[in-house]
Symmetry: C3
Subunit: 297 residues, 3 copies
């Protein structure tokens, strides 16, 4: 945990020390700009002319939502929100094939309660920032997005999924023997309704593109090479609406869900810590992680 915290400070320091501006210039200067900040988990490609920034997750091998990534993501988003130049964000993966594998199990396994608390607060913070964000958020889902990866999409205003049968999407927590928190559930219910959520959550369903579209998990399925262009074109539709009216309307829709989460935030945190600290849960997570390692090895 000390390590993680240390890393986080580094990330913050980098950003506050002008990395943002530097990156903007780098991007404007050409495609190789991204390579300069290889230590970053989130590449931001801002386009001041259109007011749209592309945020690319880059956390090899599977874009796990580590504490480091979450922290960097929220800081980057905050900067975009405070910069009046930007009105929209396209969220995508720098690694086509995997949008995000979701929460980082290594942050939840073999650590101490203080680390679990820090990690969970970062997950909560991500949702609390993104779900009611004033920015237009479009998910350009160019890879599989299970669990927390799915949540990252659900949080957005519009979801475009690449038409590849391997790119499944869903909240599959039960398959690992864990439970999606209530605010994951609320976000899903707001998107696909009560009945479809009940079934999808209990069975831990991962929907391939056609089914994801049918159940309402995504808004559009397009050929893989058209995901980014479609995202840009949908973004312009959303940005054609006067910001003020659109933002107040978004808040009106999402505020009850956000308020409910804030009210339960502390209880949810304590609940997570005590759940994840259980021997049985730790054991099953360890077994799962070992299996993953063997697979790769």
């Amino acid at each position: 945990m000390a390590l993680a915290a240390g890393r986080r400070v580094t990330a913050r320091a980098l950003l506050y020390a002008g990395a943002w501006l530097g990156r903007t210039q780098a991007m404007a200067g050409g495609g190789d700009g991204a390579r300069r900040f290889a230590n970053h988990r989130v590449l931001v490609e801002p386009d001041a002319a259109t007011g749209v920034a592309v945020m690319k997750l880059r956390n090899p091998p599977v874009n796990s939502l580590s504490l480091e990534l979450l922290t960097e993501f929220v800081i980057s988003l905050e900067k975009l929100e405070n910069d009046k130049t930007f009105r929209g964000v396209i969220l995508t993966s720098d690694r086509p094939g995997i949008f995000s594998a979701g929460l980082d199990l290594t942050e939840m396994c073999g650590k101490n309660p203080a680390h679990y608390a820090e990690y969970w607060k970062a997950v909560q913070e991500l949702w609390l920032r993104l779900y009611p964000s004033n920015l237009v958020l479009v998910a350009a889902i160019n890879g599989a997005s299970p669990a927390g990866g799915c949540l990252m999409s659900l949080i957005c205003d519009y979801r475009i999924l690449a038409d590849n049968p391997k790119y499944v999407i869903g909240l599959n927590e039960t398959l690992l023997g864990i439970i999606a928190p209530f605010w994951f559930k609320d976000t899903l219910v707001n998107t696909i309704g009560h009945r479809a959520s009940e079934r999808a959550l209990q069975l831990g369903l991962l929907f391939p593109p056609a089914e994801a579209l049918q159940v309402g998990m995504v808004d559009q399925v397009v050929p893989e090479d058209q995901v980014q262009s479609t995202a840009l074109s949908m973004m312009s539709q959303w940005m054609a609406i006067p910001d003020y009216a659109r933002q107040l309307t978004k808040i009106m829709m999402r505020k009850p869900t956000v308020d409910h989460m804030i009210k339960q935030r502390e209880a949810d945190l304590q609940n997570f810590i005590s759940f994840i600290s259980r021997d049985s849960i730790q054991k099953s997570l360890q077994m799962y992680l070992e299996k993953l390692k063997q697979k790769k090895g």
Copy 2:
């Protein structure tokens, strides 16, 4: 405002002085009866034999929901509700091509706070009367129905839309830089669900018939010349149900939404007055109205 209030009193007086009966007789006497009451904004064609009254909006050029129309509408509806002869109302437009353009922007522009208050109370009253009405309400949507026009349809028990690509329907408030009130939103969510509402409201979507049907904004799309006959035939299906059981079931479904609105009614009123009185909002409404005038001129 004084003028509007004056007009309203006139309308009331006319109605209470036997206009209702007069109109009934006129209608029974032939098609020219409607012409006699050219000053009316709502034509009521009651058919005592079937227990169904047709209410036709007639407020040229676009059936705007002016204070006068709203007042007359509510009084007419109240009379039907109190008359045991009538169990169902078909709501339609006397001007095929436009069902209703929605709230009357001239009532919200260049007036004083007292007028805004009076107008908004009338809009609230319309919803509070219609949404939990004991009558069966069928919308025969024979024209475009944006914004408040859409709300008039959503309030009904069943919606039939004429299959004409120009007859779009939706809550498009954000396109004018304004926000649908929360009870418009609640009515929409009750009809098409949370996710579809979130998107439709933020983008101010106006759905052509096929899309309106698919998203659930209307229940049926039929050729333009079959709208009224379909409405009558659907009405008979609804009227076949014992009134008492149907009404209690309707109240059970809609009461939570109505109760929530009543609780927030005063806050909603104050919110509207302060919002609409803003210079920026007044300016943008004025510009919009000028543009409309130039279009016609």
Copy 3:
């Protein structure tokens, strides 16, 4: 009522005196085991190997949910829930053609308030047991299921309907001049959403298979002779999920609805008693029952 209570005691006694075990052995021994307990309203066919029990309603002629059946059902279910061997229940009818005709009108007609209270408590108890049950519940709907029969299906985790146009399903209470209680309504809204519920409940719609599937009243429609095998195969999909995670997820989805019902339970009971005791309601139920008798005679 005394008779019903007497019968109930008998049923309890039988069960507690080892009938369960006896029946298990009988079933294991062959198909004729079921015949031994001809006085039972619920046949339980437990399969310890798979952990799945089939519960078959058998209350001729139409599987009415009599006080006796309800009581036996809840006791049988409780036993299965307490027996760690069993993780899933398939709910079906022993009489293909009719899944269940719903609540037993003879329990609500011509009896005294104490009987109405006892009966309604049993109906409430059924829902309170089944809706949040830890078991996986799959409905193999092999016949018509109006009203309370429909509720029995809605309570389950998954619904399979035989593809026979006569096998209609729906909450058709209004057709009899009565009103579905709010928790029937809540269960329906959780399944098919607000708008579809509003229409289905007011009109008392009974959906044939294709429409039932489209509106979401059932999850799957299959040829009549494949209902049971499909139920078993779907059951194995649900049972592949770790119990603990699946159960907590189910509770998370259904608890708000259950909590709301528990809070209103006593009011709902009083409401039922006073409603059903009305002369007008008793009269219309009597007329309906007479008509049914004449039909048969």
